[in-house]
Structure formats: structure tokens, C-alpha cells
Subunit: 203 residues, 2 copies
């Protein structure tokens, strides 16, 4: 079936949100950890974490206009650092629950029963239950004209991953670790069977 | 194991690229279709397509500095439109092969044996073999200061998806469609078992 921009404009708001969010198929999903000026550890689920470059090592993540007003970006800019923690099969329900709009003085860690982990003196919380944790420092941000969404780029400062997952060529082998992907706003899938590691493509 | 920014800086280039690309775990993967001024249909694999908003319906995708120099962004700006096509299990090898650096007058469709599909009078090619195809028109772009990567936002103009996959609430159910995800630069996985569709989270 074909759907045009006009059809999308005619959709009811929640229906449209679900539909458009689903158009890209399965996406990676992460928990974004920040710490407020008052020392409260916050956590929100995101499906926008994107690799922007390896040298320097840069990852970008979106802060939606509503969360900007609420607290995530503001909090992040207090300590200048944030974390991204890969969502795993054992915690996908708690992870999803972090999308609820808790009051700003409440720590989502407490509400959803995930464990805030400190690593070295990094001033943002990692998620203990995740097996792949990345700590980043603020680099630059860009506000989208069309809808005021803010893209924040961070530089990778600290990584915690299981021993033995880095292959000879630097690739990270997660075959034995149960990460998940999300379809649209709310449908979760296991990461499935390994299909293959393909060679560097040449013409 | 812990890895610091200093450790990453010390890595050999290709090793670093593989390592940093793998830090986010499994990612969605798409074929980006563009058409040049000369009418050549081009295709490149990307793992950066990101939902930026539903109203209006906005998707962003990265153009790496090297591909900017080469052709993708330049070509896209000629027709002002591009397509994103979800990579499926039956075409992941051909899709990966589009990352080879073919000369600019060559169509990757021909080289990797994928089929260029026209829909209505949309001036960028869709991938016939993909089951979820999105046509977008250029909206705005942002160049990253740190590494000159360019983020391009497009507005969703046209969608082709299978009949019967849109649920009552607007969500797209892909349980019967074999999409894949990519880990790092080159490791492909099936999208695995459905774990659940979770309710809208409330405090």
C-alpha cells in the first residue's frame, strides 16, 4: 500500500506518532543517563543514538523538545557528560518504563528498579544491568529548524564492555549477549541469529 | 573491561573504526537511494537513519565527509529527494556491497544486482526488493564542526509498505517480514523473536 504526506497529515496525532516512528523498521535502543545539579540520576530510553565518527570517536543523540523543556538536556549541560547503555533482554520492560513523565526531582533508576553505577569519577550514571556502557562528554549541539529537536554530539570518554568481546580487527562480537531492538515506539524484539560478518567491500 | 578515550586514540585506524562503530550494539540498516543530474541511480548502505519527529514526519540521515566529496549529498541536492529502504534478509549481502567505492558514473543497482523501482513521479530510486520504502524531500542540513559530517533532514513524502501491516493504533507490525540489523561495520543479524508491545508508560 502507498501512503502520501497528505495521508500522514490527515492522521490522528497518536496514530501518526506510532506510524511515523515505525517507518524505519527495527532500531537500536539505549538508556541515556544524566545527573542533575542536585545530584539526581536520571534515565530515559532513546532510539536515536547514532555513530558520527571514529576519529575522534563521536556519538550523537536527540533530545526532544518536550524533554528539553523538562530536564534531560538542561541536566546534561550541568555536568557536561552523559551515558548511553545498550538495552538488554532482561531489562527491556524497565527500560521502556523510563519513558513515563516522572517529576524532575525523581530518579527513574528508583522508579523502574535499575541500578545506577558509578565508574571512575565520571559524573553521569551508568546502568549496571547493561553489558555495553559508553560515557560521553558534550561536544556540540544543533537545533533543528523544523521542530526544535536538539541533536547533541558527545565524545566517547569511557567504555565498559565484557572481557573477550573485541575481535582481532577491533569489531565487537556480541553473539553471546542478549541485546534487543525496538520497532516504532513500543514493540521490542530480540536481536536474532548471526547471519555473517562480511568483508570490506571493494568495487 | 574498561577503555578510555586515550586508549581509543592509540588504536590503529581501521581497528578504531571497527571498535567505535560497534559501541552502540545492533542498529537499523537502510539503503539510501539518490539520482544524479545525469539520471544515474545510486545506492549506499547507511546505519544512521533516525526518526526526528512525526508531525511533520521527519527522518534524518548522515552523509559522511568522504561521500559528500564523492557524490551522495551533491546528487541528492540535484533532485532534492532521496529514499530509505529497509535492508532485508534476502538482500543484506548485496546491500553491504554498495559500500564499495564505485566510480560516480556507475549505478550501484547494476553492480550489486538490486532493482531500481520508480514510484509515481518520485525523482529518486526505491529498492524493489525491500518491503519498507520511504521517499523523502530535503528540508535542512547541519554540518558537524568536529568532523564535517553532514546531517540531512527529509520530510516523508511517500511510503510503500505491505498491505495489512498497520495496526489499529498506527504502529507497523513487521513480525512476518525479515528485516536485519547491523553490528558495527559489517556483522549482520536477523531481527529476532518478538518480545512484546508495551503499553504507553505512565508514572
Amino acid at each position: 500500500m502507498k501512503i502520501t504526506n497528505k495521508d500522514i497529515l490527515d492522521m490522528q496525532d497518536r496514530y501518526r506518532a506510532a506510524f511515523v516512528n515505525g517507518l524505519l523498521g527495527p532500531k537500536g535502543v539505549h538508556l541515556l543517563g544524566t545527573r542533575s545539579q542536585d545530584g539526581i540520576d536520571n534515565l530515559s530510553i532513546v532510539s536515536s543514538a547514532t555513530h558520527f565518527g571514529a576519529n575522534p570517536a563521536i556519538i550523537g543523540v536527540l533530545f526532544r523538545p518536550d524533554s528539553v523543556r523538562r530536564d534531560s538536556l538542561e541536566k546534561m549541560l550541568v555536568t557536561n557528560v552523559f551515558t548511553l547503555n545498550t538495552v538488554t533482554k532482561n531489562i527491556f520492560k524497565q527500560s521502556h518504563q523510563t519513558s513515563a513523565r516522572y517529576d524532575r526531582e525523581i530518579s527513574e533508576f528508583d522508579k523502574v528498579s535499575l541500578t545506577s553505577q558509578s565508574i571512575h569519577d565520571f559524573e553521569a550514571p551508568f546502568v549496571k544491568e547493561s553489558f555495553m556502557k559508553v560515557g560521553l562528554s558534550y561536544l556540540e549541539h544543533h537545533e533543528m529548524k523544523v521542530n526544535s529537536t536538539v541533536l547533541v554530539l558527545g565524545r566517547v570518554e569511557l567504555v565498559e564492555i565484557p572481557d573477550g568481546v573485541v575481535l582481532e580487527d577491533g569489531a565487537i562480537n556480541l553473539n553471546n549477549y542478549p541485546s534487543v531492538v525496538v520497532q516504532g515506539l513500543d514493540s521490542y524484539y530480540e536481536r536474532g541469529e548471526f547471519l555473517g560478518k562480511l568483508p570490506y567491500a571493494k568495487p
